[in-house]
């Protein structure tokens, strides 16, 4: 990796972590359960992208599979929590 690529990739990792941090503040603070669930949904999406970026930094192809499985499990969890909020579960 040359210097420009290194700066840009580490900067992108910093911005991603900042996004995770703000969403996590809402996850801790959120007044109702629905607010926390919205924050969790966004946290999952940002974390999937962060995992892919970490996979590029460590040059490990398996991180993309990890990100895919994490995304699927998070999606199922969010759907189940939404059904619970409806009162249908």
């Amino acid at each position: 990796m040359d210097v420009l690529t290194q700066y840009i990739v580490y900067g992108a990792l910093g911005f991603t972590v900042l996004g995770i941090l703000f969403a996590f503040f809402r996850f801790v603070k959120g007044p109702t359960a629905a607010d926390r669930t919205v924050a969790l949904d966004t946290l999952t999406t940002i974390s999937v992208a962060g995992l892919v970026l970490a996979g590029y930094l460590f040059q490990r192809f398996i991180y993309l599979d990890v990100a895919l499985v994490y995304g699927v499990l998070g999606f199922i969890g969010i759907i189940v929590i939404a059904r619970y909020l409806e009162g249908a579960l």
Partner: protein, 130 residues
């Protein structure tokens, strides 16, 4: 030609990380659950999609020892992008519906005048009872 893929990847990564940051900020700053859903889901979907594609392009620019392009990262990145594009709108829709049925109101002055889902919700309830 390989340089072009490299710069496309860098541009997509910068765009994606900025949008991911804005999505997190929107989740924190917006005043109301439905606003938060809007900000968080849209911004973080675009951000995650372009960042993952950018990593695929960046890795493709690192040529294999025999000079051919390394496309397996890009293929898996496209699978991830398609999955995110399918799953994120569904989960945000289910969340908004669940929150509405739980009784959370949007923060608008005279919000009931604009509530187009209310009538449909009432008829759905009556159909469930019948």
């Amino acid at each position: 030609m390989i340089e072009v893929y490299h710069y496309i990847g860098l541009f997509l990564i910068v765009l994606g990380s900025i949008f991911l940051f804005l999505g997190g900020l929107g989740i924190y700053r917006m005043p109301d659950l439905y606003d938060r859903l809007q900000a968080g889901t849209k911004a973080s979907t675009l951000g995650a999609m372009s960042l993952i594609l950018g990593v695929g392009f960046l890795q493709m620019a690192q040529a294999m020892p025999d000079g051919s392009l390394q496309t397996n990262w890009l293929i898996k990145a496209i699978i991830l992008v398609v999955f995110i594009a399918l799953s994120n709108p569904i989960s945000s829709h289910a969340l908004a519906r669940g929150a509405y049925k739980k009784g959370i109101k949007p923060l608008i002055k005279g919000g009931d005048d604009y509530d187009a889902y209310k009538e449909q919700f009432q008829t759905e309830k009556e159909e469930d009872k019948a």
